[in-house]
Symmetry: C2
């Protein structure tokens, strides 16, 4: 079902118009929805649409936009107040600062002005919704819809209910996200970091320990992923990868490799957090490969690579 049918032709609202919020605006508008953008900081709000125009031009250049950039941009508008942004919308994507107090204050404001049907998705990347969204009138209609940045390129979105989210809210958000082309992951119980950042945390923990112990440089550790593990993980997940990597599937694999993997994991138990010296060492290692002055241009390179990857993915899945 297309996205406009799902919202009964109502618009959606973006609250918090930084990189994440403005990225969501593109994802919704590209799918044909009208998008109202609001940010309490007028300066940030003012930048959102021009920034989106630049991104849409890049998408168009890569052949990733079915319409003209202008057509999509015309679906975006700035709302002068939160009230105005929320008036008559079907869905709100909240993308304000990742802090419990900031999100709670916003949800109380939304509670005061939202109608009785609007669904609210939070872009929170690790804070559970129950910590800031409970015991309000709107609580059954709030959940986490955590994207990877930028959401108009990387399709995954984690849907995580709070302890008070209704099943209808989950079902609506699932349909809406699939309707705009996202890949929905259902996180069934709240957990700090959800699934995506927990997996990233686990890999980074080992990567940081290998660097600290002088086993390999950051660059060489990066190579094992970008020239090795990442090839499979770019089109299969970790379970499918191992399922195909032993003659009898995943159980066969687990019996063969499980003992080695458990020894590897056990060898890391009790590692402390990244302290200042450890961070300085990783920073120095990275700066040998990329100077601080080049971070911005390398981000542009990354975004170009992501677009090229999206083009390849589109070809691969259309076969």
């Amino acid at each position: 079902m297309n996205a406009s049918t799902l919202t009964a032709n109502k618009p959606v609202a973006i609250v918090g118009a930084g990189l994440v919020g403005a990225g969501w605006a593109i994802a919704f508008a590209r799918a044909g929805l009208s998008v109202r953008i609001y940010d309490a900081n007028a300066e940030i709000a003012a930048k959102a649409i021009p920034w989106a125009a630049d991104q849409l031009a890049a998408l168009h250049r890569h052949g990733l936009l079915d319409e003209s950039p202008d057509t999509v941009i015309r679906r975006l508008s700035l709302a002068p107040t939160l009230d105005a942004a929320l008036d008559g919308v079907a869905y709100v994507q909240e993308s304000v600062l990742e802090r419990v107090d900031v999100k709670r204050t916003l949800l109380e404001s939304i509670d005061a002005c939202a109608d009785d049907t609007v669904i609210i998705g939070s872009s929170s990347s690790g804070i559970q919704a129950s910590l800031f969204a409970n015991d309000l009138r709107i609580s059954p209609r709030v959940l986490i819809a955590h994207p990877v940045n930028p959401p108009y390129l990387v399709p995954v979105v984690e849907i995580v209910p709070s302890t008070q989210t209704s099943s209808e809210t989950i079902a609506f958000t699932d349909r809406l996200m699939r309707g705009i082309g996202q890949s929905v992951v259902h996180v069934k119980k709240e957990i700090q970091g959800f699934v995506l950042n927990r997996l990233q945390a686990a890999l980074l923990r080992e990567a940081w320990a290998l660097q600290r112990d002088g086993i390999a440089s950051c660059e060489d550790i990066d190579k094992t992923v970008r020239d090795g593990l990442g090839w499979r993980w770019s089109f299969m997940g970790p379970f499918e990868t191992i399922d195909l990597n032993a003659p009898g599937g995943v159980a066969d694999y687990a019996r063969r490799l499980g003992p080695l993997y458990h020894e590897i994991i056990a060898s890391r138990d009790g590692d402390g957090p990244w302290d200042a010296d450890w961070i300085a060492s990783v920073e120095a290692d990275r700066r040998q490969h990329l100077s601080a002055d080049d971070l911005a241009s390398r981000r542009d390179w990354r975004d170009e690579q992501l677009m090229a990857f999206a083009v390849q993915r589109r070809h691969a899945t259309s076969k």
Copy 2:
């Protein structure tokens, strides 16, 4: 420098001609080297060249071979004995069973017949060379050269010296591997699982725990990687990813996210190994998405995807 110059036009030998060994044969032959293939099991040896011919045809179909498949196949020959395989070669790639005793026995046989210059790389995916290669005449010329399967598609190779490997052996193997187009990772100290499988172990540990605890299904966990984390990891490693993901680079990122990540990691301390019930649960979950009967055809799909990925990577890096 091209590979033939590096070996002074000498051939290389593959010892152990299963999937890994036969895959290596393709990687060396494609780079212009003559390759002698030996396996103690004549049936396995007999399958290696026909299998390589099929893979070369697929590479050619995807535009990943600069010559005709026939030209490359003509560089492959079967050796009737280990002696014959090793006669006058510059390099041996050992790809026998992943067991200390099997590898030790083979190295003793190589020690008895190899000349004084041949370098021996082992495909061991986790066993350190010091556990099977030390205290022989050839010991200074043995190291680990661990590929990802198949090595002619996924470029990474981990080079890991034993406690007795010479620096000349490391330098030669580094040049040879780069000469045939591999991406070399230097693992500076021996550690169980090296870098690649340690990173995989860390990610899998968290993935398995999330599945066990009912947080998400295998399929949804896979989606967070293939439609999320894997997009960046397919062209950047984990360090570059986070270096670009905070305004001030990796140190800035570590200060922002480090505490969350440490809490995530600490929450897993003390997890036990995958036991039979746990393995059965993951197996049942996976079999909902892919029946055991379809494992083989899905492996063919995976190899096609890897080739498509290789084509895209070749375009991306030639720009």
